[in-house]
């Protein structure tokens, strides 16, 4: 976006209907209100598409810094020039835009929307006086209808953006996964878990199994692992972005929920692996003992 050439000499003569403003030249004959109208007209011409999108409820996640600075500047100028009490129904529209805005950054968007509100207060009487825009003639009902119709599309678009980000992440992750797969899969805690399970199975076969079920010590061990896990260095948590996660994200499930459920799923997988190793070792020891005939069940 081009920086707004607002300076001391902002007021320019009109270049004709629909003509794009050229380099700013000072016109000393204009009054303050005419100057403001001119600024507004030029801004509208420069950012017409973006403004229409905002009014219609399309959200743009990538709000440029230029926009913020521009609106801030405009806000400061307008603050000094226009008194506050010109509240109209445009405020509602401003709020609508605010609520429809995605999850990008609330701080900056709040500033933006404040500016937008202020902007809209000011724009209303001038547009009316110019008679160039049809926005003023729109009733509130129409706007609300449009808002609801756009809401679904807007949500879908934001989700789609998230899914695309996820896809890019997936693409960037692939080579790193190929390189360091083996190293990542067997971290120290996992090896410790497996060895612990095998040793416990041997111990259980030797001493405990006559008195209680073989699954009781295993459950105790799992509880112990849950407590011990915080004392082990956590390997870099790779977020496995699969087609499934992308599909879930597109279907409207929040990313946080998906990541949590994936985490739970992986933990369940770990417990199942432990159980398999434990059970295998137990059976193996049992069969060895039977083979050598030292003990009968």
């Amino acid at each position: 976006m081009e920086p707004d050439p607002l300076g001391d000499g902002v007021g320019t003569g009109r270049e004709g209907p629909g003509g794009v403003a050229g380099p700013s030249t000072t016109t000393p004959g204009l009054t303050a209100s005419q100057r403001r109208a001119e600024i507004r007209r030029r801004k509208l011409l420069m950012n017409s598409e973006e403004r229409i999108n905002r009014i219609m409820g399309f959200h743009r996640p990538k709000a440029d810094d230029d926009t913020h600075s521009e609106t801030k500047l405009q806000l400061e100028q307008d603050k000094s020039a226009i008194p506050a009490p010109s509240v109209s129904k445009r405020v509602v529209l401003g709020d609508t835009v605010c609520s429809l805005a995605g999850t990008a950054d609330h701080g900056s968007s709040a500033i933006e929307h404040k500016a937008e509100k202020k902007d809209l207060f000011n724009i209303a009487p001038e547009v009316g006086s110019d008679g160039t825009s049809e926005l003023r003639q729109r009733s509130r009902g129409d706007l609300m209808e449009q808002r609801t119709s756009q809401h679904g599309l807007d949500q879908y678009l934001s989700r789609f953006d998230e899914a695309m980000k996820l896809r890019n992440q997936l693409i960037s992750e692939k080579p790193s996964q190929e390189n360091g797969n083996a190293a990542e899969e067997f971290d120290s805690f996992r090896i410790f878990r497996l060895i612990g399970c095998a040793l416990l199975a041997m111990g259980v076969r030797a001493f405990v199994c006559k008195y209680l079920s073989i699954f009781a010590p295993f459950l105790t061990l799992q509880l112990a692992y849950m407590g011990l896990s915080k004392y082990f260095p956590k390997s870099e948590k790779k977020t496995k972005t699969t087609v499934l996660t992308a599909a879930l994200l597109l279907s409207g499930i929040p990313a946080e929920v998906i990541s949590r459920s994936m985490d739970t799923y992986s933990k369940m997988g770990d417990v199942f692996t432990d159980l398999c190793v434990y059970f295998f070792t137990f059976i193996f020891c049992h069969e060895l003992l039977l083979f050598f005939g030292s003990e009968a069940p």
Partner: protein, 182 residues
């Protein structure tokens, strides 16, 4: 209680080393799966005898190129052009040959893979078929409580370890054991 013990003992006597048989089958299958690419390349080398011919053609082209380098294009243009045409023809022939051989190689590998997976499936199905009603090993049922029914599935023998459970366990353990080699 004594009846149960007798039952368990008889079952154990009938099964014998079933657990070991299943374990070794699973281990062999997993090992073969790891070795499958190298196995298929060895088999394809044995089946394809065109490699020698290809090698001859390559050396021939090399010789002709050397010869071409010695000929002056200005002085003996006709000979030079003839030799160059010959080289081009031979190169084209070699390219077609290599293409055919590569396609054949891919086909052989595909067939080997398919055969392997079919054999593996057949082995697993036959194992399940054989040990559908009898457990692979038997433990006192109170050891496996409260999951004895799940572990014994589909045999229904109290304290028995069913084929499905044992296959799952073996697959997991063998996969962990062979992970460093894969």
């Amino acid at each position: 209680m004594s009846e149960l013990q007798v039952e368990a003992e008889t079952a154990a006597a009938t099964v014998g080393g079933a657990w070991l048989l299943v374990l070794s089958s699973v281990f062999l299958c997993n090992l073969l799966k790891i070795l499958l690419p190298s196995c298929s390349s060895i088999i394809s080398k044995l089946l394809q005898k065109d490699a020698e011919q290809e090698y001859q053609m390559r050396s021939e082209i090399q010789n002709m190129k050397q010869e071409l380098a010695t000929i002056s294009m200005m002085d003996e243009f006709a000979r030079y052009a003839r030799l160059e045409r010959k080289i081009n023809k031979m190169t084209d022939k070699l390219k077609t040959h290599v293409k055919t051989r590569t396609a054949q190689l891919a086909k052989i590998k595909w067939v080997i893979n398919i055969v392997f997976y079919i054999l593996q499936a057949a082995l697993m199905i036959s194992l399940i078929w054989k040990y559908y009603s009898e457990p692979v090993t038997v433990l006192p049922s109170k050891w496996l409580a409260p999951l004895e029914r799940l572990v014994a599935f589909p045999t229904g023998v109290a304290g028995g370890v069913g084929i499905t459970c044992w296959l799952v366990v073996c697959n997991k353990v063998v996969a962990i054991m062979l992970h460093p080699f894969s």
